[in-house]
Amino acid sequence: MPGPSLLKEVLQRFFSKPVTIQYPFESTDVEKDLRGKHYADLSKCIGCSLCAIECPADAIVMEKLQENKKPKQNPRGLYPVIDYGLCVFCYRCVTVCPVKAFITTDNYHLASPTKLNSRDITLKTLPEKKR
C-alpha cells in the first residue's frame, strides 16, 4: 500500500492528461541547437578532406564533382557526402572544418526504410556559374 503522499498524487494524476507525447502525431519540442541533420555548403567548401579524415565513424566519403561545376575555391573538386546511417552526430566535422562550411539543423526525423545520405541536399548548394 503506497504511503499517504504517493496515494494523493496517484489520485490527482488519475484525472489529468497523461504525460506521454504521441510521437508521430505530435512532435517533441527540441532545442534550436540540437545536433541534428547537417550537410556541407558547397559555396564555401574547399575540398580539403579534413572532415573525412577526422570522422570517428568513417561516415564521410569524398566524391568528385563534374569538371564544369567546380567552384572557384575548390580546385580539387571534392565534396563530402555524409551517410546518415553511419553518422553518430558528434559534429566533429562541423568543428574541425577550416572554413566553417557545414550547415547544421535541428532535424532529428531521420528514421527511414532506405539508406539516407547528404548528396542531394549538398549538391543543391552549388553556386550558379555564369557563362
Partner: protein
C-alpha cells in the same frame, strides 16, 4: 542435503545501452546453486569482450578516440570522455581554463543525477512497485532536457575536448538550467521520504546483502557500495580533479551496510549533486575561453604514460594511456567500476533466499539492459524453465 534446484541467471548486455560495461555483447551468468530457498554458492561466468574497444583505440588517432571512448557506456558517457581527455591532458601538461573546468563539473553532475534516478526506478520495478518506477522516470525527463540545453543531445553528450569543452552557456541557458534544478530538488526530497517510510521498500531492502568494511577493501568493491558500508572513498575528494577542489560538497557514508543503505547513499548523493550544480551555475568564472579552437590543436603527442581516475556514478573509473610519440596511442586500458563490483562480489549472495538475489544485484548497479532472463533447472526432473527476473523477485518459482 542434496541440491534440488540449480538456478542459472544469464544476464546479457547490448550496446549502446550498456552502462559501465564496454562494447558489444556481454553475457554475464550468475550460476546460483540453491537448496530449497537458500543460496549456497554462486559462480560468475562472463564472456564479454569489451577489449574490442582497447584494441580499437590503438588504431585510431587521439582525437577520434575521444568519441570512441565516450561510447563505451550509454548512461555515463560524459565521465568516460572526461577521464580519457584528462589522461591525455596530463600527458601533454595542458591545464584548461577555470570556466571549462566548471562546465565539465556541471555536465558530470547532471549525469550523476540521471543515473541515480534510473537505478532507483529499476529497484522499484524489481520490487514490483511499478507506480514509483513510472513517476521517477517522468521526473528524470526534466534532467534529460537540462542535458539537451547544455550539451546539444539528451543522452550522448559529446561535450569534452582536449583543452576545454565544446559549447558554452549564456545568460538565457543559465536561467533555464537553474529553473530545472530547483524543480527537481523538490521531487527528490519527496522520493527520499518515500524510501525511508514506505513498507514495501523497507521490508525488502533492509538487512539484505550485508557486506562488512574489511570485505569491501579485500574484494575491491567501489563507489556507493563502499560508501554504504562506512568506507569513505570518493575520487572527487581524493584527487580533486577539475573544479572539485573549489566546490563545497560532502561525501555521503552510511553505517547500515545493507542494500537499503546503498540506495539511500545514492539518493543523498543526488541531493548533493543538485547543490553542486546550483553552485556552479551561480559562480561561473570568466577567466578564459571555455571552448578551444579545434582547428589549432596539436597533432603530435609526446611520449610517456599517464593514469587518470574519475568518480563515475557507479564507482571509480580508471584510464591508463601509454604513448610512444606517434599520432595513435600505444596502449589504452579502461577499467570500469562494474568490472570489479560484479565479478568480485560472488560471496555476498550466500545465505539469502532466491528472491533476494535480484535485489542484491540491482543494489550493485549493474548495467540495465542486462536484467533480462533467468533459467530454472530442476535437477530431479531435468526440466528447464525460463522465468524473468521479476518473477524470481516475487517468489513465483
Amino acid at each position: 542435503m542434496s541440491v534440488t534446484k540449480v538456478v542459472e541467471i544469464p544476464v546479457t548486455l547490448e550496446i549502446p545501452i550498456g552502462p559501465q560495461h564496454p562494447a558489444l555483447h556481454e553475457p554475464l551468468m550468475l550460476k546460483v546453486y540453491a537448496d530449497g530457498e537458500e543460496v549456497v554458492k554462486v559462480d560468475i561466468n562472463t564472456g564479454y569482450n569489451h577489449r574490442g574497444i582497447e584494441k580499437l583505440c590503438e588504431r585510431n588517432s587521439f582525437y577520434r578516440n575521444i568519441f570512441i571512448c565516450g561510447r563505451v557506456c550509454g548512461i555515463c558517457n560524459t565521465v568516460h570522455a572526461n577521464c580519457y581527455v584528462r589522461a591525455v591532458e596530463y600527458l601533454m601538461d595542458i591545464d584548461p581554463p577555470k570556466r571549462a573546468k566548471y562546465l565539465r563539473v556541471l555536465a558530470m553532475e547532471l549525469e550523476r543525477i540521471h543515473s541515480h534516478l534510473i537505478i532507483n526506478a529499476i529497484m522499484a520495478e524489481i520490487l514490483g512497485f511499478d507506480t514509483l518506477f513510472m513517476y521517477i522516470m517522468r521526473d528524470r525527463e526534466k534532467i534529460m532536457k537540462a542535458k539537451e540545453i547544455l550539451t546539444g543531445n539528451r543522452v550522448l553528450a559529446d561535450y569534452m575536448m582536449i583543452g576545454g569543452v565544446r559549447r558554452d552557456v549564456n545568460g538565457v541557458k543559465k536561467d533555464r538550467l537553474l529553473n530545472i534544478i530547483n524543480t527537481i530538488e523538490g521531487d527528490i526530497k519527496r522520493y527520499i521520504k518515500i524510501f525511508e517510510t514506505d513498507d514495501t521498500i523497507t521490508k525488502r531492502l533492509m538487512g539484505v546483502g550485508v557486506i562488512k568494511p574489511s570485505q569491501i577493501t579485500k574484494y575491491g568493491l567501489l563507489g556507493p557500495i563502499a560508501r554504504g558500508s562506512n568506507i569513505k572513498i570518493d575520487v572527487r575528494m581524493g584527487d580533486k580533479y577539475d573544479a572539485y577542489g573549489e566546490i563545497p560538497f560532502n561525501v555521503i557514508i552510511r553505517k547500515e551496510m545493507d542494500s537499503w543503505a546503498r540506495m539511500m547513499v545514492r539518493w543523498e548523493e543526488t541531493l548533493e549533486s543538485v547543490n553542486m550544480c546550483r553552485y556552479v551555475l551561480e559562480h561561473l568564472p570568466s577567466d578564459g575561453p571555455a571552448v578551444p579552437d579545434e582547428r589549432r590543436l596539436p597533432r603530435r603527442f609526446p611520449a610517456g604514460e599517464s593514469f587518470a581516475r574519475v568518480e563515475a556514478p557507479r564507482g571509480e573509473l580508471t584510464y591508463y594511456i601509454n604513448s610512444v610519440g606517434k599520432q595513435v596511442p600505444y596502449r589504452v586500458k579502461i577499467r570500469t567500476p562494474s568490472f570489479n563490483n560484479i565479478i568480485n562480489s560472488g560471496f555476498s549472495y550466500i545465505g539469502y533466499s532466491i528472491a533476494d538475489v535480484p535485489v542484491i544485484l540491482t543494489s550493485y548497479d549493474p548495467c540495465i539492459a542486462c536484467m533480462e532472463r533467468a533459467i530454472v533447472i530442476n535437477v530431479k526432473r531435468g526440466t528447464r524453465k525460463s522465468v524473468s527476473l521479476k518473477q524470481l523477485a516475487k517468489g513465483e518459482v
